[in-house]
Symmetry: C2
Subunit: 130 residues, 2 copies
DNA sequence: GATACCGGTATCCTTTAGGATAGTAGTATC
DNA sequence: GATACTACTATCCTAAAGGATACCGGTATC
């Protein structure tokens, strides 16, 4: 007895329509700049508005300052965020999304939705095993 | 002179609406299973239909058999793909997306679109610098 | 004067990802 | 009998990711 496995029809059509290898290239290009554990979570976090270094760290929870610093620099290089320095005393630094990072809105939204549902699925399947 | 940077309004509303920290958790859950350089490209590649090991390798181009084997196992564990063995001579093995992996359609589509546009942007900005 | 907060750096370390290369058992093909 | 294909595995290695811990200069606060 073999389970019949259907194939994603939307993607299949899409793939036939616009050359699949091109599609893979797009995905790989995206992953190239968005790689790692932190970039997308950071962009998502900053979508609530500009934040200061320590606030970002607290908001994410378990990122060390070294890693956060490195990630922020890379995001700045790729023009996803801007670093603002205010000459208050003491100096205030905020990180803010650029307009370009808005182009990631849909990706973030879909990923967040999927991740949320995936978690529910995992939790449910874990319960059903008890 | 300071550039005024606007903040993603869609995400901002969304964030206010459904609790941002939850959103980050969703994204981090998603990345937890979809991490690395190969998982999403592999799922995307398989969306064209079941494929054999060597065919996948050829299609992706620069993945070594060791890495491919490891990635496929992880995708199988997470129920994104199924491994089919046919007792032909010689044995034929195909890898096929499960129905669950369809839930990633939108994520893949958005990511592909974004990546494609991002590449165009990079190419354009490189040209303008010459 | 001691302590605490901010925005990070510096140093060290472990783990993982991922690549290079070679090889294997089985079959088929010339 | 040599070669080639399939579906991998084994071994070795490097580079990068990421974490732990400590620290720094400056300021403010108690």
């Amino acid at each position: 007895m073999e389970t019949q496995v259907k194939i994603s029809s939307e993607l299949e059509r899409n793939c036939a329509r616009l050359n699949c290898s091109e599609g893979v290239a797009g995905i790989r290009d995206a992953l190239y700049v968005l790689n790692g554990k932190w970039k997308l979570p950071l962009i998502f976090t900053l979508s609530g508005g500009p934040m200061r270094f320590k606030d970002i760290q607290r908001s994410i929870g378990d990122i060390t300052p070294k890693v956060l610093s490195k990630e922020l620099k890379e995001l700045e290089l790729n023009e996803f965020i801007v670093r603002n320095i205010y000459s208050t005393t003491p100096v205030t630094v905020t990180y803010q999304l650029t307009p370009y990072s808005q182009s990631l809105d849909k990706v973030l939204l879909e990923l967040k939705d999927w991740g949320t549902k995936h978690r529910q699925r995992i939790v449910a399947s874990r319960k059903s095993k008890l």
